[in-house]
């Protein structure tokens, strides 16, 4: 393995996803190239339907294998994920790559307690017994500031608010210290007061464990707060890739300019911050 590639935790080269239809293959995303280094946050932005989620699902090989075809290479710590069997992927999902979904309410099974699902995740990837797994779960939930984890583990998902459930999901994603976390619109379903809280915990995990984060969002505020680099997607292609400061200060592509102009501006607020 080459030295430069070693520092890349995740490397995606020439990714192309096609879906088979009656009228032949239709391309969902193509020519996707990016890499993630340890402790780095890559923001993936674009409007709805541009292929952000398809990209993340193809990394995790979660798309229907019969109807879609994924081409190109997805290297996780030097290991090729594309074409890996279901058994191999199950070992990787949750342990090496964790996935945080947009809607935490739908991401948990309603019929089992949070504790049951949490401990199942831990035990399927480790050789720990139930007691050790419970301890780790409690510690992980403490870490995201959830009050009284012992009690919470006995609760069902519907007993939580969206913000709390998203924090449980972050705790679950982070507890096995994965190399990469893919966060697909982690704050979109939450109300404003919880958004910042969730992002704050994601950042804490990145800072402490050096986890690389692929942050998918259509909200440029989230990107401005979190990302090191940004890739802008449009109609299934990455059209611009730049450092976050460069992208906000000197967007090159017309579409990026359009996205930046679409933000509702709070000029007054910004000047107030400067004065303070």
């Amino acid at each position: 393995m080459l030295g430069t590639e070693q520092s890349n935790v995740l490397q995606v080269n020439n990714l192309q996803v096609q879906v088979k239809t009656k009228n032949g293959a239709s391309t969902l995303v193509e020519d996707i190239n990016f890499e993630l280094k340890r402790g780095e946050v890559l923001g993936l932005v674009g409007e709805s339907g541009c292929g952000k989620t398809v990209t993340s699902m193809s990394i995790l090989q979660l798309l229907n294998r019969k109807s879609t075809s994924i081409e190109g290479s997805i290297l996780l710590q030097g290991r090729e994920l594309n074409g890996l069997g279901e058994k191999g992927m199950r070992e990787i999902r949750g342990k090496d790559i964790a996935f945080i979904m947009q809607n935490p309410m739908n991401a948990f099974t309603p019929v089992f307690t949070i504790g049951h699902q949490f401990i199942e995740t831990i035990r399927s990837h480790t050789k720990w017994n139930k007691k050790q797994a419970t301890e780790l779960a409690i510690e992980a939930m403490h870490h995201v500031n959830l009050p009284d984890p012992v009690k919470l583990l006995k609760c069902y998902p519907f007993q939580f608010s969206g913000g709390m459930l998203q924090r449980v999901m972050i705790a679950m994603a982070a507890c096995l210290h994965p190399a990469v976390i893919i966060a697909d619109e982690p704050t979109t379903a939450l109300d404003v007061n919880n958004q910042k809280n969730v992002l704050y915990h994601l950042e804490k995990i990145r800072a402490e464990y050096g986890t690389a984060i692929l942050l998918i969002s259509h909200d440029l505020g989230v990107i401005a707060e979190m990302a090191d680099h940004v890739a802008v997607m449009k109609k299934g292609r990455i059209i611009e890739k730049a450092g976050v400061f460069q992208l906000f200060d000197e967007p090159r592509h017309e579409y990026t300019k359009k996205l930046l102009n679409a933000r509702s501006k709070l000029q007054f607020y910004e000047s107030a911050v400067h004065l303070a």
Partner: protein, 267 residues
Amino acid sequence: MSLLQINEVTHSYGSRTFFNWKDRSKKVLNDISLSIDEGTCLGMLGTSGAGKSTLGKVILGLERPQIGQVLFQGHDIYAADKHIRQKIRRDLQAVFQDSYSSVNPRMTAERIIAEPLENYEKLTAAEQKRTIIELLERVGLSERDLNKYPHQFSGGQLQRINIARAVSLKPKLIVLDESVSSLDMVNQALILGLLKELKEEFGLSYLFITHDIKAAYTLSDKVGVLEKGKLVEIYDSKNQFFTSKHPVVHRMRDSILAEHPRFRTIR
């Protein structure tokens, strides 16, 4: 006289029943008084569960408050006779968050927009069609979309149809209950721009219920803040809101995400 006036409205959900005698009701609106003037937009901010949507329902006449009055153009909407209520319903329209569940999936765009026109206007078929096409074009869609069904539109397009339906009778007040919250940023900006134009064009008033401070800032003339069913304060200008020292407002301002990585606070 203001267009809409609410006097000391209190409303709670869940009341005593024969089998459940203990009073478990929860006050969702507590002694709320406010008014909206003609041609202005009142932004109503609050976290989830603050009672924003209940306030919207009370104003639309969908939820009779236990205490207090809702006066629309001087008429109490819950005490008015049938004739006046019918007139009020025409002048009072709504656009909700979920554009798909606000329309009948079996109707085409044409029939969706035609519904209020059929109920209130006596137009010939040709006139009605022309009005609908004009409305569609006004909200950025075209004649080609007339015969499409809701599932053939994107969320942003369907929200435009909802807006076209709401303005079709040239109402006085539109209640926008989180109307842009489920859209992506590009569409949000476009819809907010459209709402702003329509407001000038038809002299509309809005009650803009949202949890998004930036969106409220774009559209509103005045800003009110709800917290746990109580009206914290109403600010006559956006600047007043942003300089307010009230802890609730302070917390809200703190939750705004940075606009530029220069201002980031998390990392």
